[in-house]
Symmetry: C2
Subunit: 515 residues, 2 copies
């Protein structure tokens, strides 16, 4: 057995089911081994940022790592921006990078670079193979590192000769260490905060915003009157009918400060204290009200669900009924396209158990409000601020949840970063409806400009505009085999959205907005 | 004057004319300053890899650095793959990256990352501003670092508060140090090698393959009977009618070894000794014939043109007439599309002073042979092996040489990495004809697979195919406002190519090839 086969078999035995690939010559033996492993599904992508973002989406929905297979330093480089986002999402993710044969490295051939140096800024674990016989063991270590709570990026660099040489050994995962118990002092502190009568919010991130974590947080909020907030850059939020209402912290620094000024105490669950997205000369970076108290419910590596359980027990919430009132759904609106109208259409039509991937930036600011009363669904957003994550994230989420409808909301600027992802959506026949809001500019930057500087010179506007030429997303999608349509009214948007969900096929809707 | 303005004015005074931009909120003051500087042209790109590759293309044609303006660590990350290529091309290039305000960094906001760590693997010079007052001086240092021979990547990270704060000072470039003189011992060694009767090749890279360097190399070859070779990964090769014939070293290791086995001596001009692109279990990485002698004509930082001049003088070639025989041009072929036929069409129709950017990978292997007798032209190729450089390089080369026709030859796989570049071609109305050879696979990887492994499993082929869905490049180009057509015969290709050159407008030709 060669090193490549030992790695692939180790991955299979270690529970890795998926590998998003954009390989090259140095990974050819890994491709061969992958293609002979029935338990490991290879998904080709035309750009590495798609591979990494898709693995992030898969991890968000399953809690499990997927693998990516990338080509030397440049292939890894192309994946780094979405690796930054994945690091911020604190998901488990396994990056496999092929390298030159070890004997070839000293010749400094054109594709040579310092892959470890490139990997470290966004990885918690980086190793390079030293022999074929250790490839399997390093693969197992990488999986274990990726799975270490709350979730980490592990990068394994495989020299081509270690992949092709005999002597590979399949390795078993190391025994997982027990999750550390929550600190009871910390739980008691939270209990005191929730019962001392001060206005208090529980801020949810990571695993606190969905599943068992969210249910427990909802019970605690119900029993104590605390508010539930989510970080602006949350990983995965379960919401809709029957679920606890969680307010997202605003992007805008002033709005977020006002929002948080209601609270004297914040209890942080699987997330850091809220800070401004960008620094501002006239505003603090720390969003919390002066004099307010921030308390971490648990240490970073601890299981937040267990900590929430302890807190719920300490508060004796067991008998608390989940009586979350669900707001109504919006009526289907009519007429000319407005941002509020578009949000109302989504709120009215979102099917049960949908997954919404939201990279709509300025155009989708009303979407979360309009979908509060929709049937139960998940909401995924960009965690690291590096745009170009939407379609890749949707790919991974869809593969993780094949029976669910995925709605990918994207700005035009953000869609263009990883447009290549549409091809993989079609290749894998994923039921993703992509809506692109085409305002023909990096609108958020124009907003930042207007807020910070006086008048925008024409030449500055020209650097932030996406017109001349306008992007025709119908044509772009069709160029990758994806059915697409442009809508010019809210009725047309509603029809297209309903048809998109109904089809359970890849499709795109372009929504032109006023410039 | 704020720091941003001091930087932009320093760039203008330091001879920077161009800035390829994909900014974000943290660069908004730099955008503002840039838009107020008439001498500095901002060129917007939809993806950072386009910015960097375009700056590379500009530098290859002018020898001068252009700037790029990128958004924090993720923006830089998206540019790294083409920065790898630019490093290998050893061109001067100035990377400006905006960062959070310094006071904001300790809050670890979502977009925070270690930008210096990301920059170092592909930069020779990296600095982060510490105050508004030093922004200008660091800008001048960065230009000087970029211009240090043979050409370097300098990355300047500008904290947002240093851009927006007052106290900026325009800085003058440091006095440039004299180029070190060539080592006369080294020149004499080369003279001996060229006159001892042993079969000898002069291998050209960097500035040795165009302009004065190439003319001198041609005279030396003419006078001594030495052969002229170019590295497989050369930066810029001048060729065609009246120019010295330079053979490119083959990509295929066996063919390159055979090619180099003719020579007992290699004189290396502005390039390293030839090595295999990838390591192979059964072949050496060093391509030179066993026992042959490799001699560097000059030290890496030395001016290769001066060294060639000294060598020419030592050989008394002054009277040598340039009698380079020019091969004939191919006749315009007819009929069904073949790779040889496509190459013959290009050879027959290439206009005088064209710039050919060649990232056609397997489909264009015959192109250089067929264009030997074409009118004088430049040929630019991928220097670092990271595909997705073609269109960006063409953008920069075209802006550098507005009166010349640019022909960008691309594989389908390579075009998809930085497809967004087509938008900038249209935005800037650049006379670039892009030809995409659509064989619907990563053909080079299938070749590597076939050479290395026995049979290709169907699941492996599926990871290397670009079909299902097929990419429709006419639709993709039109989606970015670029006129495009698909050709199904050599006659149609010839008509489309002639019309493309004639138009002096952006245009794309898709050439479907047998799968």
């Amino acid at each position: 057995m060669n090193g490549a086969e030992s790695l692939v078999r180790t991955l299979c035995e270690g529970g890795i089911e998926l590998c998003f690939t954009n390989p090259g010559t140095s990974e050819i033996h890994l491709v061969d081994a992958l293609s002979r492993a029935p338990g490991l599904r290879g998904v080709p992508c035309l750009f590495e940022g798609v591979c990494v973002g898709a693995a992030d989406g898969f991890a968000r929905m399953t809690g499990r790592p997927a693998a990516t297979l990338l080509h030397l330093g440049p292939g890894l480089s192309n994946g780094l921006a979405n690796l930054h986002n994945a690091k911020r999402a604190r998901v488990p993710l396994l990056v496999i990078v092929g390298d030159h044969a070890q004997f070839h490295k000293r010749y400094d051939a054109p594709l040579t670079s310092d892959i470890e140096a490139l990997a470290w800024p966004f990885s918690s674990w980086v190793r390079t193979t030293r022999s074929a016989s250790e490839v399997g063991a390093l693969g197992a270590d990488a999986i274990a590192a990726a799975r270490t709570a709350p979730g980490h990026i592990a990068t394994l660099i495989v020299s081509a000769d270690h992949a092709w040489s005999d002597g590979g050994k399949v390795a078993a995962l190391p025994i997982r260490s027990e999750t550390r118990p929550a600190q009871s002092a910390s739980i008691q502190q939270a209990r005191i905060m929730l019962t001392n009568g001060e206005p208090t919010a529980i801020v949810l991130g990571g695993r606190g915003a969905h599943g068992r974590g969210l249910r427990l947080a909802g019970r605690i909020a119900e029993a104590t009157g605390a508010s539930l907030l989510a970080q602006f850059s949350f990983c995965r939020l379960e919401r809709g009918e029957g679920r606890p209402l969680v307010e997202r912290i605003f992007y805008d620094t002033r709005l977020a400060m006002k929002q948080l000024s209601q609270f004297r105490q914040l209890i942080l669950v699987d997330c850091p204290a809220p800070v401004a997205f960008f620094g501002d000369a006239d505003l603090p970076s720390d969003l919390t009200a002066p004099g307010s108290l921030c308390h971490h419910l648990h240490a970073p590596g601890d299981n937040c669900e267990d900590a929430l359980q302890e807190l719920a027990d300490a508060l004796s919430t067991r008998g608390t009924a989940a009586t979350h009132r669900t707001p109504g759904r919006p009526q289907l609106p009519h007429g000319a396209i407005t941002l509020d109208g578009l949000a109302a259409v989504v709120g009215a039509l979102l099917p049960p158990q949908a997954i919404v991937v939201d990279e709509s930036i300025t155009s989708g600011r009303g979407m979360m409000s309009a979908t509060r009363g929709a049937p139960p669904h998940d909401w995924l957003v960009n965690t690291g601020g590096s745009i170009g994550l939407g379609v890749p994230l949707a790919i991974g989420a869809s593969i993780a949840s094949p029976n669910r409808d995925v709605l990918c909301l994207s700005g035009d600027g953000s869609l263009m970063y990883t447009l290549q992802g549409l091809w993989t959506v079609v290749r894998e026949a994923l039921p993703i409806t992509t809506v692109v809001f085409s305002n023909r500019s990096y609108r958020i930057l124009k907003g930042a400009f207007d807020q910070t500087l006086s008048e925008m010179p024409e030449r500055a506007a020209a650097l932030l505009d996406l017109d001349r030429p306008n992007l025709d997303f119908v044509s772009l999608a069709e160029g990758m085999g994806m059915p697409a349509r442009r809508v010019e009214s809210l009725e047309a948007f509603a029809r297209a959205l309903a048809a998109g969900f109904e089809s359970r096929q890849p499709n795109l809707i372009e929504v032109p907005l006023a410039g």
